[in-house]
Symmetry: C2
Subunit: 426 residues, 2 copies
Amino acid sequence: MRRTVAEHQAAVAGLLRSGYDAGRPEVLPLADALGRTLAEDVRAPVSLPPFDNSQMDGYAVHAADLADPCALVVAEAIPAGSVPPALERGTAAPIMTGAMLPPGAAAVVPIERADPPRFYSAAERAGGATVTLPRGVEAGLFVRRAGSDIPEGETALPAGTFLGPAQLGLLAGCGVGRVPVRPRFRVLLLSTGDEVAEPGAPLAPGTIYDANTTLLEAALRDAGADVTRHRLLGDDPAVLRDAFAAIPSGSTDLVLSTGGISQGAYEVVKQALTGSSVEFSSVALQPGGPQACGTISGVPFLGFPGNPVSALVSFEMFLRPALSRVAGSPAPRLVLDAVLVEDVRSPEAKHQVRRGLYRNGEVALVGGPGSHLLHALAASNCLVHLPEGVGSLAEGDSVEVTLIGPVPQDPFAAQDVPVTGLPVPD
Amino acid sequence: MRRTVAEHQAAVAGLLRSGYDAGRPEVLPLADALGRTLAEDVRAPVSLPPFDNSQMDGYAVHAADLADPCALVVAEAIPAGSVPPALERGTAAPIMTGAMLPPGAAAVVPIERADPPRFYSAAERAGGATVTLPRGVEAGLFVRRAGSDIPEGETALPAGTFLGPAQLGLLAGCGVGRVPVRPRFRVLLLSTGDEVAEPGAPLAPGTIYDANTTLLEAALRDAGADVTRHRLLGDDPAVLRDAFAAIPSGSTDLVLSTGGISQGAYEVVKQALTGSSVEFSSVALQPGGPQACGTISGVPFLGFPGNPVSALVSFEMFLRPALSRVAGSPAPRLVLDAVLVEDVRSPEAKHQVRRGLYRNGEVALVGGPGSHLLHALAASNCLVHLPEGVGSLAEGDSVEVTLIGPVPQDPFAAQDVPVTGLPVPD
């Protein structure tokens, strides 16, 4: 079956939706919820700020003294955390940032605008110290009104919000200690084939080390999924069929395999799934053209092609966006326009995805189009899109790139930020 | 002490360097190394590919038959993972993608260009089947040469490389099972003050919930640091001094506190550290002006201001870039140019950092400049830089933004990627 990239993306999203149950939220303490996605709207149980408070260290001024705050008697100081008595007319209370505004007060004058521009000691206050403030203080000056950030009962964060530091900080600030998050997406990652060896083991002639399982496990974990690795020995389709039959229902949201789905004479995944409802497609994508998608014994299944670059491109083009859509995380990749620093050719009938290094609005290709170029992939920080219908592009043309790694960059001028992360290849 | 943003950035980086020992790498299995930073160069113990192999499913052609590969006798098929016998002149061997090229072969012709364009069965081969291939096959066609991605002994990844899925995949492909990574940066996060309550506990009048500890713990963890929380009761400087004295040397790379470093009458951190080597600065930054930086009993110490937005801005402007530089992770934030969709004013004497929502090259401000606006911070995905010397900017002007959260975006046309992540506020 031939498919466009968009058609296969829709098929993968539909497949994931059929198996993933977003309706069983986990309730986690805030400290465990980083990077998760909110399953339900969370309302603010208190207003932020919870009460009118001072934005500055200074003097709280009575509403009746705003026009002419001259020679005011200095009242008891108000530290943050206390509940102050009412402010009397003709007095000014030293008040600290974040402290509750006393009843009667209408504004705060910062200490540096007071005369004298310093706080009195307790002994000075007891001796009847006075302070003079500038005339014509505006009501509300340096007062943070209760609820001005968010009023009690309003939605603090809607369902689907990705929980980063700021979002968790807001929930903590509202007093919310535990949050309902969507369940992690559970993936069973299958590795098959006689020709691949585990990293660290000796390499027999004719065999290669298994890069795909490590690469996809990391990519899935990075995207927030729970991953289980399952190694099948041998190239026997029956072993694979038995493995599928043994998956306990309800424990796995997706089975993912690589390799064995192409046009060769020994395609173990294809052979094992003959007669099943899994569809084997040729997607107009390079690399990543051969794709398998369907269910086996009711469990959603995706088969990616076996070259490591093809596997990563398949993940980034099909699975990661579907996880974003269906499970709410990971956050979508950033797609940017970039200026090509070289000419490039591409097969017009396919959406070609090259690897590149993006920096300061420009992109250089890293390595050729070959899907075995793992070292070049590891030295790149973006996927470069050469869409269907495009046969060639010239230096200076604009392309879209998907950022998949750290961007070395010249930071804004005033900031002495180092350039670290991925080294630029020679 | 008055400082520019760049001066304080340099001071913080210097402080972190004085305490962090990058020279004690941890050696981790690949599966545990995601998001870590390589401590040493890693060389490829094998070439990639390890041997000449086929890029396609097709026929391996003898060097002597390239010019006229007509009616070649079909030899034994070569699956991936096997070691094939030498190819004889006048024969062609069916060969699968990734399979070792047989000695004598010089090229591979894809199966779809063969006549017939399908693989024979074993019985057909035994019966003396022949195949005809196009004339004039180029030597090297569809052959992946040993070492063409990386030759044995070359640096696969240099020290300082941030380890994402592609980098771990490369190491696995090279057979490297364990990698030396830089140690995690260890932070002791202090919370102080009587006026803050733990989320989930009841809120006494005049007090607020502690947002900073949750926010900074998440920000530090997100940046790859190990975080220990340490809650100090009371506002007594002596308690804080005792806590510092009790930190075991060699267990903490940084102590971080928030609040208590400003110009008020009750600044517990400042009072506790009177006479120490900690410097209290006024940085030309808003929010985040008051900053403390130094060592206590030999342990590096940073004090951030106490409002949540000030704390996050301090983290993003000073601590996160220093962690990138000194510990090698996290990867630096992406800084982009964006077009303002509204007019904005800024104090000329300071680098003002506003919160914004970046999308499709444009940025809208979220909330006002107030450093207590936690809800607005949680609804933003970037920091907007209004540098020193800039008093106002107009709609359509360009500003630099630092991305700190997911970007909702219109994906490239052919890709049906959903817009999820952070919801856009009303």
